[in-house]
C-alpha cells in the first residue's frame, strides 16, 4: 500500500488511457488542452482516483498536478464536477466522484474540462468558482426562522405527498452540472429546486412570493442565461431534479408578480 502509484492489483485488467485535460494556471491566463497518458487503470477505480494516479505521477516528475475540486467522494457534497467528453459529470447520471472507470474501456481518449459558464469563472485547471449559487440562496432561499422561535414540530402536519415532493427537490447538491450542461448556461434548475422545496411546505408560504422574485432577479444579476426548457439540466443532474420544478417556479413567479411582489434592488 505504501507510496504506490497506479494500480497494482488489477493486473491484466488495467486500462491504458489518453487524457486531454484543460490546464489553466489562473483566471488571468489563457488555458489549453494538454494530453497525458495513464496506464494500468482498474475498472473499479473512481474517476477521481484515476486523476489521483495521474497527479501522483505529475508530482513525482516535478510537474504541477491538475487542480480539481472534490471532497466527500460519495456523491453528496456537490464539490466535484467536470465535463467529461463534453458531458457534465460524464456518461452516467451521477457525480464525477461516483463515476467509475468501468464506464470506459482500454484505449479510450477522454477529454476533461471545467464547467463552462461565465458566472463560474475558472480558478485553476478544472476548479471553478460557484459562489454565484450561494448568492442566489442569499437572495431568498431560506425560511426566516431565527433559532429558538420554532413552534412544536407536530403543530403543523404536512401531507406526505408534499413532504416527499419537497424532499425530492431539496436533494439538489448545488454542483452546477445543470448550468454546465445548459446551452444557455442557465441556473434555472438550481433555483427552481429551492423554490419548489420551500414552496411546497406550509412553513415556506409567508415568504413564497418574495423568495421567487428575488432568487430569479439574483440569477439574472449573476449573468446566468435564460431558460428555454431544453432539459439538458435535468438530464445531467446527478440527483435527478425534475423539470417540473421549473414549471413550478414559473407558476410561482407569475403569481408573485401578479400579486405585486417585486425584487429588492
Amino acid at each position: 500500500m505504501q507510496s504506490s502509484v497506479g494500480n497494482t492489483d488489477a493486473g491484466k485488467r488495467g486500462m491504458n488511457l489518453t487524457l486531454r485535460i484543460w490546464r489553466q494556471k489562473d483566471p488571468s491566463v489563457k488555458g489549453k488542452m494538454v494530453s497525458y497518458k495513464v496506464t494500468d487503470i482498474s475498472p473499479d477505480m473512481s474517476f477521481l482516483e484515476m486523476l489521483d494516479v495521474l497527479n501522483e505521477q505529475l508530482i513525482m516528475q516535478g510537474d504541477d498536478p491538475v487542480a480539481f475540486d472534490h471532497d466527500c467522494r460519495e456523491g453528496i457534497c456537490g464539490m466535484c464536477g467536470v465535463m467529461i467528453n463534453g458531458e457534465a459529470h460524464g456518461p452516467q447520471q451521477t457525480t464525477t466522484c461516483q463515476l467509475h472507470m468501468r464506464s470506459f474501456k482500454d484505449g479510450d481518449k477522454i477529454d476533461i474540462e471545467p464547467w463552462r459558464a461565465s458566472p463560474f469563472p475558472v480558478i485553476k485547471d478544472l476548479a471553478v468558482d460557484r459562489r454565484a449559487f450561494d448568492r442566489i440562496i442569499q437572495a431568498g432561499g431560506y425560511i426566516s426562522v431565527p433559532t429558538g422561535t420554532a413552534p412544536e414540530a407536530h403543530a403543523t402536519p404536512v401531507p406526505k405527498k408534499d413532504s416527499d415532493a419537497a424532499f425530492d427537490a431539496a436533494t439538489c447538491i448545488g454542483c452546477g452540472a445543470c448550468v454546465a450542461a445548459c446551452p444557455n448556461a442557465s441556473s434555472m434548475l438550481f433555483t427552481a429546486a429551492k423554490v419548489t422545496h420551500l414552496g411546497l411546505l406550509p412553513q415556506g408560504q409567508p415568504e413564497r412570493d418574495d423568495r421567487v422574485v428575488n432568487m430569479v432577479a439574483q440569477q439574472d444579476r449573476e449573468g446566468f442565461g435564460g431558460c428555454t426548457n431544453i432539459g439538458e439540466c435535468s438530464h445531467a443532474c446527478p440527483k435527478g431534479i425534475s423539470m417540473e420544478t421549473i414549471s413550478r417556479l414559473n407558476h410561482d413567479l407569475l403569481g408573485a408578480l401578479r400579486a405585486g411582489a417585486r425584487p429588492k434592488s
Binding site: D44, D52, I59, C77, D134, Y142, V158
Partner: protein, 648 residues
C-alpha cells in the same frame, strides 16, 4: 509505562455545571446564572467561527441572529459542502412521538451507556434535553423529514436503543439538516451580520494576554496568509478520522485547526477514542482514496451473516440457511443486528479473523436484504433505502437487490477531540470548541444518529447560551496585525509553509498519508495491544522524520496549491497519530471503540477498568522534545449506574 512517553500533571475538572441542583435542572440553572450580553454590546463584539458543518453553520447563523459580528471560515467553495452533508441515517430526539417509552432521561441513559460510561453526565443530559428543540427548529426551517400519511413525522430505530427516536430524511438526513443551517447562515450573510471567508483554512490560533483573539488563515485561492481578529474564537472543524487515510470522512476533512490550537495550549481529550463503523463498503484496491458508509439504518432490515464454514466461496444466494451464521442475532438476541457500532465492528473483525470473511481478501461480511424484500416488497425497501442501494451499486458494480451487500468496518467518527468544559470552552479562555471537534458527549463510543444531534445542539442552543458568560467581560482591547503575538503566529505559519516547499524530496504527501493510515489501522484500529502501540509510536516517529526530510511538494504558496494544503494536513496527522497511540497505550482497559486485547471478558467483550480508568484523559502539548502531559478529569456517575454494558 516508560517515563519518556508522557508525564502526569495536575487533575482537571469542569467547574461550570451547577452540580448543586439535580441534573434535570442544571442546564436551565446554568443559563440563569450565566451573565448575559445586552443587544447593544453584542454589536461591538466579533466572533470567529471556523467550519460550517452542522455545528459551525448553526452557531454562526445563531450568533449572527443574536447580533454579534461573526466571521465564518471554511475551506470548500461553499458552506454547504461541509461533511455533515454526508450523514445518512438520522438524528435522535427524545420526542417520544412513538409512545414507546422514550424520554429525556432514557436518551440520556442510552447515550451514557452507549458511550461505555466514559462521557460526562452533565453534558449528555443537556444534549438529551436540547434534542427536542432541534427537531422543532429544523422543521420550521423546512427540513423535509420523512412523514407518515397522517402528515406527522416518522421515526426509526437505531443501534444501541430499543425505542424509535430517530428522525430522518430518507438516507440523506445530514444533507437536509445541513441545508437548513446553511440557508440560515446565508440569510445572515445577506443581512450583513456574518462575514464570509470561503476557501480559507485556519493554520494557527492567536493568543493575546491568555485569551484566544484571532487566527492565522490562508486564502487557498490566492495563497495569501493573513491574520483575523475577534473577541472569541469557535472551532467547529470536525473530527480527525483522516489520520487513518482511509475513512468515511471527506478528503479534505482534517485536524489542522484543532491540532494547532492544541499546540497553542488547548488540551486534547481522549484522542484514542475512534469509531469504526460496521457497515461500510469494503476496500477494493491500493488506489482507494476513501471509504463509503452504508447507513446503520440498513441494520433495521438487513441481516448480517457469514458462512458457518471457513473457505465457503459459494455464491451467497446458494448458501442454504443452515450453512449461514447470523452471528449478531446469535450472540446478542435482545438487540440482534442493532447492537452498537463498536460491538458490530468487532464481531465482523472476529469472524473475518476466523477465516469466514467474504469477498476479496476475506475482509467482508454479508448484509442481506432478501428476507426484508420478501417481507416488505421491493418498493417498500426502495422507498426506505433506495439512495443507499444505488450508491452501493454505483461503487461496487453489484446489484444489492439481487446479491447481498458486502460490508466491512471503516473509520467513521472520532469521539475524542479538544477538551471543553460544560460551557464548551477549551483550556484556552475565549476559545470554544463544538461538534465533533470537541470530546464532550459520546464517551468511548457514539450511538448512531447522535452526531447530528450534538452538532446542532452545540451550534443552535448550547454555545450561543454559554458564550455570553465569557463575552460579558468584553469587548476586549483591540488587537491588530502589529501585536507581537500576531506577528509571531503569522511568521510561524509562513515559515512552516515555506519549509514544506523547500524539502524537495522524493515522496508525495499522499504517500506519507497512506503509510501513516495503514499503520494506524493495523496497530491503533479495531484492536490495540501494548506491543503494537509501542511499535506504532516508534514507526510514526520515523515517518515524521522522513516526512520532514523527504517530502515533495510542487509549486509555491502564493497560488492555489492543493498538494501544499495536503502536506500541511499530513504533517499534523502524523503528530496527532502519535498522541493517539500514546493515549491508547496508557489506557490499559477496553471501553467502547477502544479495544485493548489485554482487557476483555471471557466472551471477548470490552472489559472496562473503572477503578483505574474512569477518567477523561486530557493531554497537554509540550514543546518539541518533551513528552505530553496527562491531566485526568475524574468521571463521576450520580445518575447512571456503572455497569458492564450488555446487549444480549
Amino acid at each position: 509505562m516508560p517515563l519518556e512517553l508522557f508525564t502526569t500533571g495536575e487533575p482537571i475538572a469542569d467547574t461550570k455545571a451547577p452540580t448543586d441542583v439535580p441534573i434535570g435542572e442544571r442546564w436551565s440553572e446554568r443559563r440563569f446564572r450565566g451573565r448575559l450580553v445586552n443587544p447593544a454590546n453584542r454589536r461591538k463584539m466579533t466572533i470567529i467561527v471556523v467550519g460550517t458543518g452542522l455545528a459551525g453553520g448553526s452557531a454562526a447563523a445563531t450568533l449572527g441572529e443574536a447580533g454579534y459580528k461573526v466571521k465564518s471560515f471554511w475551506y470548500q467553495d461553499s458552506p454547504r459542502r461541509a461533511h455533515s452533508v454526508a450523514a445518512q441515517g438520522g438524528i435522535n430526539a427524545a420526542k417520544n412521538y412513538r409512545n414507546d417509552g422514550d424520554s429525556v432521561h432514557r436518551l440520556f441513559y442510552d447515550t451514557v451507556k452507549g458511550g461505555d460510561f466514559r462521557s460526562r453526565e452533565n453534558n449528555v443530559h443537556r444534549l438529551a434535553e436540547v434534542s427536542v428543540s432541534i427537531i422543532d427548529q429544523c422543521v420550521a426551517q423546512g427540513v423535509p423529514f420523512a412523514r407518515e400519511y397522517g402528515g406527522l413525522l416518522d421515526n426509526r430505530s437505531f443501534g444501541g436503543t430499543q425505542v424509535s427516536r430517530t428522525f430522518y430524511a430518507r438516507g440523506q438526513t445530514g444533507q437536509q439538516l445541513l441545508y437548513g443551517a446553511y440557508q440560515a447562515l446565508e440569510r445572515q450573510i445577506a443581512a450583513g451580520s456574518v462575514e464570509q471567508h470561503a476557501r480559507t483554512e485556519m493554520l494557527d490560533l492567536i493568543i493575546v494576554d491568555g485569551r484566544a483573539r484571532g487566527i492565522v488563515a490562508r486564502d487557498l485561492v490566492s495563497g495569501e496568509i493573513s491574520t483575523h481578529f475577534a473577541d472569541a474564537v469557535v472551532l467547529a472543524t470536525g473530527g480527525y478520522g483522516n489520520v487513518f487515510y482511509l475513512s468515511t470522512n471527506a478528503k479534505g476533512s482534517n485536524a489542522t485547526a484543532i491540532w494547532r490550537a492544541h499546540k497553542k495550549g488547548a488540551y486534547f481529550a481522549n484522542p484514542c477514542y475512534t469509531q469504526i463503523h460496521p457497515t461500510c463498503i469494503p476496500v477494493k484496491g491500493d488506489y482507494q482514496s476513501k471509504l463509503t458508509l452504508m447507513s446503520e439504518s440498513l441494520r433495521n432490515d438487513g441481516r448480517v451473516w457469514v458462512p458457518k464454514e471457513r473457505g465457503d466461496d459459494r455464491d451467497p444466494r446458494e448458501i442454504p440457511e443452515g450453512d449461514r451464521d447470523y452471528y449478531l442475532e446469535r450472540l446478542y438476541p435482545a438487540f440482534g443486528n442493532l447492537v452498537p457500532r463498536d460491538i458490530a465492528s468487532r464481531q465482523a473483525k472476529n469472524v473475518c479473523d476466523e477465516g469466514r470473511g467474504v469477498g476479496p481478501g476475506g475482509l467482508g461480511v454479508y448484509l442481506d436484504f432478501a428476507e426484508a424484500i420478501e417481507r416488505l416488497g421491493r418498493p417498500a425497501v426502495e422507498a426506505k433505502y433506495g439512495n443507499l442501494f444505488d450508491m452501493y451499486a454505483q461503487i461496487t458494480g453489484e446489484d444489492p437487490y439481487q446479491v447481498p451487500m458486502r460490508i466491512y468496518p471503516a473509520v467513521h467518527y472520532t469521539m475524542g477531540g479538544l477538551w471543553v468544559d460544560y460551557d464548551l470552552q477549551s483550556t484556552i479562555p475565549g476559545m470554544f470548541v463544538i461538534g465533533e471537534a470537541n470530546f464532550s458527549d459520546h464517551g468511548a463510543n457514539r450511538l448512531g444518529a447522535s452526531a447530528l444531534m450534538q452538532g446542532l445542539a452545540d451550534g443552535y442552543f448550547v454555545l450561543p447560551a454559554t458564550m455570553t458568560e465569557y463575552l460579558a467581560d468584553g469587548p476586549f482591547e483591540k488587537v491588530d496585525d502589529s501585536h507581537p503575538a500576531a506577528v509571531e503566529a503569522l511568521r510561524g505559519v509562513q515559515e512552516q509553509t515555506q519549509k514544506l516547499l523547500n524539502i524537495n524530496g522524493t515522496r508525495t504527501p499522499a504517500s506519507f498519508h497512506r503509510e501513516l493510515g495503514q499503520l494506524m489501522w493495523d496497530l491503533c484500529g479495531m484492536e490495540r495491544t501494548d506491543e503494537g502501540l509501542r511499535k506504532a509510536i516508534d514507526r510514526i516517529r520515523e515517518i515524521r522524520q522522513e516526512f520532514w526530510s523527504n517530502l515533495k511538494v510542487t509549486g509555491d504558496w502564493h497560488s492555489f496549491n492543493q498538494t501544499l494544503e495536503h502536506a500541511g494536513r499530513v504533517a499534523d496527522f502524523i503528530e496527532l497519530g502519535e498522541l493517539m497511540c500514546i493515549d491508547a497505550l496508557h489506557r490499559r482497559e477496553s471501553c467502547g471503540g477502544h479495544f485493548r486485547a489485554e482487557s476483555q471478558t471471557p466472551e471477548g467483550e470490552a472489559l472496562r477498568d473503572d477503578e483505574n480508568f474512569a477518567y477523561v484523559a486530557a493531554w497537554e502539548w509540550r514543546p518539541e522534545g518533551e513528552p505530553p502531559v496527562l491531566h485526568k478529569e475524574n468521571l463521576e456517575y450520580e445518575y447512571v449506574h456503572l455497569a458492564q454494558r450488555s446487549y444480549k
